[in-house]
């Protein structure tokens, strides 16, 4: 069942370059097309490459909300990278939060340099599981690599979000957005990515 909150507070998070912004834009536009309000706050710029990036998406039928949601108030967290998903749960999560996350880790520079330790992926999943009402995991990067297009990972992820039916958006809503934002020769691949994402959580 779709989350019924108004405002609906979504977080889409990941690492710079993973396609966060395209994703939040498609979700926001789809809700505006349905006649509602959507506001998106984004962190990018110097953080575009390799830094933690997140979009705060706020959807409402009533009014325009600010781009940043208050802490502890996320309804749904979409993680393009699992450590980033946990980072967002830490700040914006609450016992009712649900989470859908990619499991493919992007290791921070401090981990490569042996200053920090990247958590064990099973512990990471368990941690997110313990802090959310419900969560889904999939290796969206592996699916995108199978499709020969690692860049389509974000579309696999939005497919997974549709598959969980936590949002009132339909596959057609997202396909309409893809048609607007992508060149025609990339559509088939992205439809396939969408459908593979949906199946991955079915």
């Amino acid at each position: 069942m779709a989350i019924s909150a108004d405002p609906l507070n979504l977080i889409i998070c990941g690492v710079g370059g993973q396609g966060n912004i395209l994703l939040s834009g498609m979700v926001g536009s789809a809700y505006i097309r349905k006649g509602g309000f959507a506001t998106i706050g984004e962190t990018f710029g110097a953080a575009q490459r390799g830094g933690a990036v997140f979009s705060s998406v706020r959807v409402s039928e009533k009014r325009e909300y600010g781009p940043l949601m208050p802490e502890g108030k996320a309804h749904l967290i979409i993680g393009l990278e699992p450590l980033e998903a946990l980072r967002m749960v830490q700040k914006y999560g609450n016992p009712e939060t649900v989470c859908i996350s990619n499991t493919y880790p992007v290791v921070p520079a401090g981990v490569s340099a042996n200053r920090d330790k990247y958590p064990d992926i099973d512990e990471l999943k368990e941690g997110i599981g313990n802090l959310t009402k419900q969560c889904w995991f999939l290796d969206a990067t592996a699916i995108a690599l199978e499709l020969g297009a690692p860049i389509a990972m974000n579309i696999v992820m939005i497919g997974a979000v549709l598959g969980t039916e936590q949002l009132t958006l339909t596959p057609d809503d997202i396909k309409a957005q893809l048609q607007e934002s992508l060149p025609p020769d990339r559509l088939e691949l992205n439809y396939e990515a969408l459908s593979r994402g949906m199946k991955a959580v079915a």
Partner: protein, 637 residues
């Protein structure tokens, strides 16, 4: 990114604040658009460039903000509507011109000019949190600050009309949470502008002689102040006699609304939203202040509204002035951007409310679980970035030279060297062009006993922006230094904008390349150009240049930005893999620990380095440098 000239009128669109501004300008009939890229302002000009052919615009990436502003000024002199957009730091470059314009006026051809300055509270992508609103006041420019996406669009249109009516440039304050946020905007009709440019050569426009012109400008600002007292961009919402009046502007308005709703204070707290910030609508503010016993001012960075509100209250000689809470009282912070939690905290303190964002037991659990696992994710160069190779060579050369060379740098992707996860070879870092200016100073200290070699760093885009003047100074005044131009052939950090060295304009038309090396040679210095990925040659050349005591030497380390190269070529240059039997694993760790390339990982089970297929750009740098020759590269057909 949508083509803003083609948006359907009267319908709702999800627009970035910068897109809302650009669309407003198009509807207002802008024809001449100039800017230098700077986060968070860049998308304004990017959108004009994209719409340029359809809308018949001139859209250019200028070599810096001052030039952009002067060029836009001329278009206004010739009767067109023009815009110059920049980030907070860029304003400082343009300021010499801006300070003069409104004394001189925009001429007599009914032109108009809008300056958009995007501030960056929280310094997401800036060296400081400069609050430029004071500067609008200093330049005597009418200043509006939008508090929503719709308002950004509407204020832009309004300011062009105001500019034309009063013959002065107007100022729109943009900021990160508007510029780089997106929201719903209903747009109006767009018609292609067709004004013709002309100039009456019997006329002269200049601030000289200033005092009488200043007097006229003061009078204009008084008239505009009267307008702003009545402006619909200022509005009150809430109970008739609120217990607390919030006066807010910009991002503070939505944060305040959200905070009031979160705490259920709708019956007690009202919001006076101010959109017109200079000239300040003092009477309006005083009339609202009188309805409340206490006032909280919510604004970003400096107490600008707070200072003006207090001045207005002092001027009004109220018998029982209300208590003004804000930054000075400690209820709001001078530092960082607004968010709803900051306003919630201030309201809780004022009303004595205890706010619990989430179940305290959950918070404890979060800290137990996530607190242990979540590690910082610092900024680092992309896989395939030539700056990783350049800084490897620079570090090597400095070490082998052995005389503690001083490195002064400036602003670009290479700035990440100075961040916690960078190589931290950088010694001083300030602003665009600052690397060469500071190197010039260090390079002149020999008579005071200074014996260290000096390296000044700039990028290809910052070379054209603000590094040529310090280079000329260094040559003429006999500084001994090596100027390194880290040339990745694009303005990468702000989103791949072209510059005079790239051979393309903002609208993707071909242009004659201004060659940095030819220019430097003409100035009379020794110039060497090396491929940044040839780390052996780069290191050897830099060592040689450091030994050369003959004044200013220029080293261009050139290699295209990997992201830009990939956009154009769409394939990796090599196939790269690890030959595990040769890899010494964590006993070495050079590729992941020293090079810190995101494309290389470490597999603890096998104790071997591994190429991360989803991230590796297969540039071959790690293969060139692997001490055990365990990483292999093979050219792709």
């Amino acid at each position: 990114m949508p083509n803003l000239a083609k948006l359907a009128p009267d319908s709702y669109h999800l627009l970035q604040g910068n897109e809302a501004i650009a669309r407003g300008a198009l509807e207002a009939g802008v024809q001449y658009c100039a800017a230098y890229p700077g986060t968070p302002s860049s998308e304004i000009l990017t959108n004009f460039a994209q719409a340029a052919k359809d809308a018949g615009l001139h859209a250019e990436w200028s070599s810096n903000e001052k030039v952009a502003t002067e060029a836009a000024l001329s278009a206004a002199y010739a009767g067109l509507r023009s815009i110059s957009s920049m980030k907070n730091a860029g304003l400082n470059v343009a300021m010499d011109t801006l300070q003069h314009i409104n004394l001189a006026t925009l001429g007599d051809q009914n032109g108009a000019m809008l300056v958009v300055v995007a501030d960056d509270p929280q310094s997401h992508a800036s060296g400081d949190e400069e609050d430029t609103r004071w500067v609008a006041q200093m330049a005597n420019a009418p200043l509006l600050e939008p508090s929503s996406f719709q308002e950004a669009y509407e204020m832009t249109k309004y300011l062009f009309d105001l500019s034309e009516e009063f013959g002065i440039f107007c100022w729109l304050r943009d900021y990160t949470r508007l510029a780089h946020a997106r929201g719903r905007v209903q747009v109006g009709e767009y018609h292609k502008a067709d004004r013709k440019a002309k100039y009456d050569r019997t006329k002269m426009f200049t601030p000289y002689i200033a005092p009488p012109k200043h007097a006229i400008l003061v009078e204009k600002m008084a008239q505009i102040r009267e307008r702003f007292e009545e402006s619909s961009f200022n509005a009150y919402e809430g109970p008739e006699n609120p217990e607390l009046l919030i006066i807010s502007c910009g991002s503070g308005v939505l944060c305040s609304r959200d905070a009031i709703e979160e705490l259920g204070l709708e019956a007690k707290v009202g919001i006076l939203k101010l959109g017109t910030l200079w000239p300040f609508p003092s009477r309006l503010v005083v009339s609202h202040i009188q309805k409340a016993k206490r006032v909280l001012i919510v604004e970003e960075v400096d107490p600008y509204v707070e200072t003006h509100a207090k001045a207005a209250i002092a001027d009004a000689r109220l018998s029982e002035p209300p208590e003004i809470l804000g930054k000075v009282s400690g209820h709001m912070s001078y530092v960082g951007e607004n968010n709803p939690d900051k306003v919630i905290a201030a309201l809780c303190e004022i009303f004595g409310i205890e706010y619990v964002a989430r179940d305290p037991e959950y918070s404890t659990k979060v800290e137990e679980i996530a607190g242990k696992m979540v590690v910082n994710r610092g900024l680092i160069w992309c896989a395939g970035c030539p700056h990783r190779a350049s800084f490897y060579s620079i570090g090597n050369a400095i070490k082998r030279d052995g005389r503690d060379a001083v490195v002064t740098s400036d602003i670009g992707c290479y700035t990440m060297d100075a961040f916690p996860d960078g190589t931290q070879l950088t010694n001083t870092l300030h602003c665009m062009g600052g690397g060469l200016g500071e190197a010039c100073g260090f390079g002149q200290l020999q008579q005071f006993g200074f014996k260290q070699p000096v390296i000044g760093i700039c990028g290809d885009s910052t070379f054209f922006h603000a590094s040529i003047t310090p280079l000329v100074n260094a040559i003429y005044n006999k500084a001994n230094m090596v100027a390194i131009i880290l040339d990745n052939s694009i303005t990468a950090m702000t989103g791949f904008q072209p510059h005079p060295g790239t051979g393309r304009t903002a609208t993707q038309d071909p242009a004659q390349i201004v060659s940095a090396e030819e220019l430097c040679r003409t100035l009379g210095c020794r110039v060497e150009v090396v491929d940044a990925f040839d780390t052996k040659a780069s290191t050897a050349m830099l060592m040689d240049l450091l030994k050369d005591e003959g004044g200013v030497k220029v080293l261009i380390l050139r290699h295209a930005c990997e992201l830009q190269r990939m956009r154009e070529e769409r394939k990796h240059p090599y196939k790269v893999w690890v030959e595990e039997e040769k890899c010494r694993g964590d006993k070495c760790g050079f590729c992941y620990r020293v090079l810190q390339c995101p494309g290389v990982g470490y597999d603890a089970h096998s104790d071997k380095a591994m190429i991360l297929e989803a991230l590796c750009a297969e540039c071959g740098l790690c293969a060139d440098l692997c001490p055990s020759k365990a990483i292999v590269k093979e050219e792709r057909a």
